[in-house]
Symmetry: C2
């Protein structure tokens, strides 16, 4: 059984839809053949490729960045919104809503150059552990999705991330862990300022937002970065609905997939009530829009990569 | 001699610098080895990969678009700046300067969706001929550069275009003619608006500029789209200087190349005086910044692809 495609996916309608779609677009003499250059697949990141509870992982990175900043400037601890972040006040962060919360997060990365940021991010990923899952972030990604990305690439697809999270934080992680190089990561971004004197050249991160890559902005950023409509898209929230609809509205064979977190035992069960990234309209209208809903509980036989530490390691800490 | 690398490049310092650089970064046990994922090469388009005289080719596309629009709305012929464009008033267009002239060009593409634009652009490239060179645009590109792009890719490089021209017009041309897919084209862009009703999904082009990809914006857009500093960059004007300096300022082996148009017989001879894209500072400070100047006349044994029509076909029309 080890050479069965997508081993962490259970037999069932979601796996069948994927295998059937890939077979159709790769059959050279078939009516639905798509040449490799047009086999573009876009994946949301938070909640689609890895865990986003109780907060998107970017916030845990920001908490640690703020600790470092507050060690130098203790007044930060009393200044909102940083106070809420430093106190890990999750309810307050949820109440901010997705864009406002992320904009605060991005602002804490301002004033350094792009290379410094990349180095700090890589160091953090190497050392940090997810506070609820109690494991390194590289083991908070979904094993079935890692297999799906590799399976698509083995079938001539080019895989992209299209995320509301910060583009540079994802890039510090995606190549090693998802096999997705930086130039295939699209995300939210801040403006950068080029600075050059006779003896220095720098690209500085500003606090001003360049693009918040969520909802209707996702298709526009796909057009900007990729210049080609995806034939497959995978998301998990209303933030992905525009990307899914844009994908499905193209001519020829299309597949739109929506992960539904219905697995409280192995991961988390949530949809409408998650204020940082609710799933309402995409779930209610999935049938109407031709979106395939992937229930985590029924579709996946494991969720997280096997850490070799037995079953307990794949359950969230309480 | 047909299997000599870069056959359209003459023996000399420019070709030697390229071959030497590629040998260094691809020698696995050498001190300058660069793994393939980091072999990023960025090329300007107008004046670097193809002819930009007497105007960047985008303007010839715009002239034809405006003719189609003026056929429906004759009042356009009397309204500036469209009047100057419709009259092919090159001096007036030059006087506008690069960004203003391009912004007018982009505005003439507003109001259609992204798919419609791509179709119009592809049709135009298939039918139109360059007014001075009197040949299809696919034969206005520089044969030595097409060879260089292919040579770099054969050595594990990923090749990107980073142009001040409109990103979508370049994409309609680059895959077939340069072997560069849409997702590896960076250029100036307008804002796009996602529109969806129950039964339609569209991405509409607006007239508002998203990014004018020239000068200091080029490194910022490289960071946004690629997320990795190039190790090789090739340009031909001051609009490329920031990209060249950003490339050369990275750690490890770097190559920055600047095409100098000094070949009035086979192409055009110009630098400082070309108001739409002058070459002044990059030429004056090439030595100081470590930029290798590539004189067209001495470096290339042919300029344009051989059309099979004899020598006359490779000379500009008067």
């Amino acid at each position: 059984m080890t050479d069965r495609a997508l081993p962490s996916w259970n037999e069932g309608p979601a796996r069948a839809a994927i295998l059937n779609f890939v077979a159709r677009v790769t059959t050279e003499d078939g009516p639905d053949y798509v040449r490799p250059a047009e086999r573009i697949a876009t994946f949301d990141n938070d909640g689609t490729l890895w865990c986003e509870q109780p907060l998107q992982n970017q916030f845990f990175f920001v908490f640690d960045r703020l600790e470092a900043l507050a060690a130098k400037d203790p007044a930060l601890r009393e200044r909102q919104p940083f106070k809420a972040f430093l106190e890990r006040d999750i309810a307050t962060i949820h109440a901010l809503g997705k864009q406002a919360a992320f904009e605060i997060a991005f602002a804490t990365h301002a004033g350094m150059n792009a290379d410094e940021f990349a180095e700090i991010a890589k160091e953090w990923f190497a050392a940090a552990r997810h506070p609820k899952l109690n494991r390194p972030y590289a083991q908070c990604l979904y094993q079935p999705q890692v297999e799906l990305l590799a399976y698509l690439r083995a079938n001539g697809f080019k895989t992209f991330i299209v995320s509301g999270g910060g583009i540079d934080l994802i890039r510090a992680f995606a190549e090693e862990n998802y096999g997705i190089p930086p130039e295939q990561v699209i995300g939210s971004s801040v403006k950068l300022r080029f600075e050059a004197g006779d003896n220095h050249v720098d690209l500085m991160r500003l606090s001003e937002l360049n693009s918040f890559d969520d909802r209707e902005v996702k298709p526009a950023n796909i057009a900007l970065h990729i210049g080609r409509r995806p034939i497959l898209a995978f998301g998990n929230s209303d933030g992905d609905l525009a990307m899914l609809r844009y994908t499905l509205a193209g001519k020829g064979p299309r597949l739109g997939l929506l992960l539904h977190h219905d697995d409280a035992e192995r991961e988390f069960a949530y949809d409408r009530e998650f204020r940082l990234s609710p799933l309402v309209e995409a779930l209610d209208k999935a049938d109407q829009y031709g979106i395939t809903v992937v229930g985590m509980k029924a579709s996946w036989n494991i969720v997280f990569p096997d850490t070799g530490a037995g079953k307990a390691a794949s359950r969230p800490a309480s």
